[in-house]
Point group: D2
Chain length 339, copies 4
C-alpha cells in the first residue's frame, strides 16, 4: 500500500476550509501539506497552523511546483477551476475540483483533456452522491431488484433566499442550483438525460426577475433508458434544506426523505410538532463531504476511476444549459442541441 | 328544514352500488327511492330489496317521471352522462354526475346549460376533494397562512395494471387517470391551469403503446396565479394506491402522504417493515365518497353551490385534452388552444 | 347457511346506540328486531323508527320472551350485566355483553355458568381486539415468526379528564380504564397474567385522591409463559387518545402507534406540525366495533367460539383487582391471591 | 480566556481511544499531551504517534506527576476508577471518569471527597445526556412548557447478546446496562428516584440464569417530585440499538424514537421496508461523545459545574443496587434502604 496521499489545496474560502478540515481530521489516507490562496491573510495562516499545515502561500504555482504533492483540491472561485485543473494536470497532480468545472463546455473539455493526457485522476465535487440517503436510493435501483427505473423524482429546496448580490452573478437557478439535481438524476437513473423541459417563475417578490432569474422551477427530463424524470426547486423553503429523491421502478419504489434535527415529537392539545430538516448543506452533507474525500483518496491509492469523473463534469453543465434554453424559449430542448 | 332528499340512481354497476349503499347507510339526509339500470336483473333487484329500495326498472324515464324524486345520481357509462344530465335537468331534478361528464367539451357545455336553465344543482364526482388528507392540504393553502402557492405537486399511481381491454377504450391516461389529478391541482392551488406540458412513456412492456397510450407520465402546469405544478402518474405502483399531494407556498409547505393499512412496524435482524398504502380507491376514498354524497345533500337542502360544480365538469376535461395534445406534439399547450 | 341473526338490544344509551347503528348499517348478517331500555322515551323511539326497528319497550322481558330473537346485546349499566346475561341465557339467547360483566368474580362466574348450561354463546366487549393495529401485533406474535414473546408493552391514555362525578363511581382506574389493557396484554402475549405490581399517582390536581383514585399509573406484569409486561396509563393525554402496543420477542419486535387524523405535515420557519391522534375511542375504534359485531354474528352462524369469551370475562377483572390490591398494599400481588 | 486544556488519558482501550480521537480531532479546546496504559504496546504507541501525542507510558504516575497536565480522562477498567480519581485529584487535576466510578458506594464517596477537597472538577461519563434526542426531551421538560412531569419512560435495548464471559463479570443487568437508564430518568424527570421495583427474566436461553442474571427487565420507579417512571431493557433487540425516551407531563408529551441508518422507504408488492436503527452506541452516540468532551472542557475553562457531576456518580449506582435488591427479594425497594 502507498503512503498517505499528500494534498495541496487551492482556495481557502468556505468550501476550501471545509475540505481542509475534513482531510486533516477525518481522512486518515490524506495529508494536507500546502495551501495556496490569493487572499491569504493572517487568519488563514492561523487556521493552517492550527491544523499543522506548514506551507501557505498566495501562489498556486507553489503547489504545482512542489514535487511532494500528489493531489490538488481546486476550491477557488468557479472561473478559475478549468485553468487550475489544466495546470495541476500538467504538473502531474491528481485533481479534485469543486463543481462546476466551468460554465462553458469548451473550457470543461480542455480541462478534462489535460487530465487525460497527463493520466491523472479527476473527481468533480458532486457531493450528494456520497450522502447515505441518496446513495441508498441509487444502490437499490442499481441492484436491479426493483427492475428498470420508470420515474426519477428530485425535490431540492434551499432554506432561504441568497442575497440578490449573489443571484446577480450566480449564473441562474439551473446552473447554480439545479446542476446538483441534474447530476443526481443521472446518478439515480443510471442513464443520461436526452431532453429537458423547464418551467420557472419568480414568485417571492425578492427581485429575481430583474436578473431574468427565477426562485421556483420545475424541470422534466427524458433519459436514454426510457425513464422520465422531474425536479422541483425553490430558493426558499423556509423550513430547512429539503432534499428528497425517489425512483419508481418496474416492481416498486424507493424514496428518501430529509434527515431531521432530531427524532422528537411534542404532543399537546394545540399541536403535534416534529423536528425540522437540517438547515443547510453543511449540516445535511457533512458526512458526505468526508466520504467524498475518502473516495478520492481510494481512487488514487487503488488506481481506480473516481465515482464522479470527467463525464460528470460535462453533463450536468450541458443539462443546465439545455434547461435554461428551454425556459427561455418555452419548449423542450434536446441535449443534442447543446452537446 | 326540508325533509329527506329523495334520490333516484341511474346505473347500478360498481360505482352506482357504492353510492346507493352509502346513501342508504351513511347519509341520513338522503332516501333512495328508485334505481334504473338498463341491465337490471334479479341480482340487482335483490340488492335493492335488501336495502329497502322499492322501485327498480330498466328505464331512466321511470325516475325522471317520478314527481317524488328530488335528485338523480348519474352512474351510467360515461357516454350517457351528458344526456342523462340534460334529461334530469329538464325533469327538474338536481344532478350528481360521475366524472367525466363527457370527453367532448360541447356536450359538457350543453349538459351544464340544461342544468342552469332548469335552476337545478349539478355536482361532479371528483371524490378526492372530500378526502381528509387532500382537503387538509387545500384548507391550509386556502387559509392563507402559508402565503401564496408556488409549487403544487401530485403523485398519483394506481396499484396495478388494468386489463388491456380496459386501456383500449379508456380514452388514454390523461383523460382516464390524470383527470382526477387535474381537478386536484385546481382545488389545491385555488387557481386555473393556463398551460401544460406532458411527457409519457410506455415502460412496463404491457402493450400500452399499441393504443398510443402510456403507463408512465409527468405533466407540468402553469396556473393563472403564477404558481407552477407537476403531476406524476404510473398505472402500476405494485405497492398500493399512491396518492400524495403537496403545496409549497411563500412561507412553507403542506404535504400529505398515504393512508396505510395499519400503523405497525416489525423490526428484525433482516428488515424493518411497515404497512403498505391502502390498496385502491375504494379503500382509500371510502369515507370521501360518503362525504361527497352528504355535501351534495347539503347543497340541495341549503340551496348552496356544490363544492364541485359545473366549471369543474369542464376544466379537468379541457386540461386532459391539452395534456394529450402536448404529449402528441411534443410541446407545451396553452389551455386557450382548447377552450 | 342460516338466515340473518335476529338481535335484541338491552340498553339504548351511548354504547347501545353505537351497537344498534352498526348492526343495522354495517353488519349484514344481523337484524335488530327489538330494543328494551328502562329509560325509553320518544327520542329513543324515533331513533329506533329511523333505523326501521319496530319493537321498543322498557322491559327486557319483552326481548327474552320473544321467540324470534336469537341473540341479545347487553348494553345496560354495568350492575345489571350479570343478571341480564343469566336471564338471556335462560331464555336460550346468545349473549354479547359490554365489559365488565361484573366487578365481583362470583357474579361473573354465575353468569358464565348460566350461558354454559344453556349452551349459548357469550362474547364480552373487549373491542380493541378487533382493531386493525392491535390485531396486527397479535397476529405477528401469534404467527411465531418473531419467536417467543419477551416484553409486552401497552400505553393507554385517555384524551382528557372525566368529570369527578364519573370518577366517584368508576371503580377506580384499574377496573375502569386499565381493564382494557389487561385484556390487551393477555391477547398480545397469548398467555395469562400470574402477578402484577402497580404504581399510581394523582398528579393532575383534579381531585382523584379524594376517591383514593389516581390519574397516572404504571403496572408491571408477569405472564405464565415467562414474558414480562408493562402498562402505562394517564387519564388525560391532552393530545388525543394514545393507544400504543408493542411486543418484543426472541427475534425482534412488533409495535403500533396511533391512528392520526390525517397524514399531513405542515412545515414553516417556526415548526413542523403533523396531525394529532384521533380524539377518543369512538373515532379510534369505530371500525373495531363493527368487526366485533360481525365476529359475534359469525360465531353464532358458524357455531364457533367467540374471539372474546367467558374466560376473558373473568381474567381482566381479576387482574384489575390484583392491581388495585398491589397499589393499596405497595407490593406485588399474585393472581392466585385473587382467583 | 485560558489556553487549551492539556489532557492526559488513563487507559487506551476501546473507550479510551474513542475519547482520545475525539479530543484530538473534534475538541479544539483540548490538547492531549499524554497517555498512560498498563498494557501499552507498539500498536498503542503508533496510534498515539499518528495523532501527534508525544508522551506514552505504562505508569499513570507519569501523568499525575506532569505539571503541564490540567485534566485527566479515566478510561481504565472499572475497578481502578475510584483510585485513579483520588490520585488525580490529589495531583490537582480535573477528572473525567467513565461510568461507574465504582460499584461500592463508599469507594465512590471517597473518590468524590478527594475531588472536593482538591477543588477540581469531576465529570462522570453518562454520555447519553449529550445526545441530541434525549437532550431535546430533557430541554422540553425543563422548559416547563408542558407542565410537571407525570410519566417518564425509557426503552433501552442492546442489539445483540454479549458473550457469556462478559456477562459473568458484568455485575448484572441493572449495574451494567440499566445504570445508563437510571441516570437518564433522573436527567429527564429533573428529580431523584425514591423507590424502585424490578422484574427480570432470562428468556433467551443464552445462559443468563447461571449467573443469576437476566436478559429482559422492567423497572418501575417513583420520583421525589411525584412522577412515576418505567424502564424496559433487553440484552438483544436483534434489529439494532433501541433507545427511546418519553416524558408525559401535565399538558402533553415529548418523546423521541431512534436515529435510523437512513431515511429510505422501499415499497414493493411484498413489503414496505424502512431502515434499521443505528447498530450500537458508537454509531448512535458518536456526536454525544464529542459533546460530552467539549462540555467538560467548557466546565474547566469557565469554572462552571459539569453537567454530569459528583451526585450523578452516586445516584445511578445506588438505584442499580436497589433494583437488584428488588429483583432478588420480589418487592419494591426504597432508595433510603441503600443510601
Amino acid at each position: 500500500m502507498m503512503n498517505k496521499v499528500k494534498v495541496g489545496v487551492l482556495g481557502a474560502g468556505r468550501i476550501g476550509r471545509l475540505h481542509i478540515t475534513n482531510l486533516v481530521q477525518s481522512v486518515p489516507a490524506a495529508e494536507v501539506v500546502a495551501i495556496a490562496d490569493p487572499f491569504l491573510n493572517e487568519e488563514t495562516q492561523a487556521f493552517a497552523n492550527n491544523l499543522g499545515i506548514a506551507q501557505c502561500s498566495k501562489d498556486p504555482q507553489d503547489i504545482f511546483a512542489n514535487p511532494d504533492i500528489d493531489a490538488v483540491f481546486v476550491c477557488t472561485s468557479t472561473e478559475a477551476h478549468a485553468e487550475m485543473i489544466q495546470r495541476a494536470a500538467e504538473a502531474g497532480k491528481h485533481v479534485f475540483c469543486e463543481k462546476p468545472i466551468h460554465t462553458d463546455l469548451e473550457q470543461i473539455r480542455k480541462a478534462i483533456a489535460a487530465t487525460e493526457k497527463a493520466g491523472v485522476k479527476l473527481q468533480v465535487g458532486f457531493v450528494r452522491r456520497f450522502d447515505h440517503n441518496h446513495k441508498k436510493v441509487h444502490d437499490v435501483v442499481a441492484s436491479g431488484k426493483l427492475g428498470r427505473p420508470h420515474l426519477v423524482k428530485v425535490c431540492s429546496r434551499d432554506p432561504e433566499h441568497q442575497p440578490m448580490s449573489y443571484i446577480a452573478t450566480s449564473g441562474g437557478i439551473f446552473m447554480d442550483m439545479t446542476i446538483h439535481d441534474f447530476d443526481m438524476v443521472r446518478y439515480l437513473s443510471g442513464s443520461e438525460v436526452t431532453e429537458v423541459c423547464a418551467y420557472g417563475a419568480a414568485l417571492s417578490g425578492e427581485g429575481y426577475d430583474q436578473y431574468n432569474d427565477v426562485d421556483t422551477a420545475i424541470i422534466m427530463m427524458k433519459f436514454e433508458n426510457g425513464a422520465l424524470g422531474v425536479i422541483d426547486n425553490s430558493r426558499a423553503s423556509h423550513y430547512g434544506y429539503d432534499q428528497r429523491t425517489e425512483v419508481h421502478c418496474d416492481k416498486g419504489c424507493v424514496q428518501v426523505t430529509n434527515d431531521l434535527d432530531d427524532q422528537a415529537m411534542i404532543s399537546t392539545h394545540e399541536t403535534v410538532e416534529i423536528a425540522k430538516p437540517t438547515w443547510f448543506f453543511l449540516e445535511r452533507y457533512n458526512n458526505a463531504f468526508i466520504q467524498e474525500a475518502k473516495d478520492f483518496m481510494d481512487a488514487i491509492i487503488n488506481d481506480t476511476e473516481p465515482l464522479v469523473g470527467a463525464k460528470d463534469g460535462v453533463m450536468p453543465v450541458a443539462i443546465a444549459m439545455a434547461a435554461a434554453k428551454s425556459f427561455q424559449e418555452g419548449r423542450p430542448v434536446k441535449l443534442s442541441e447543446i452537446l
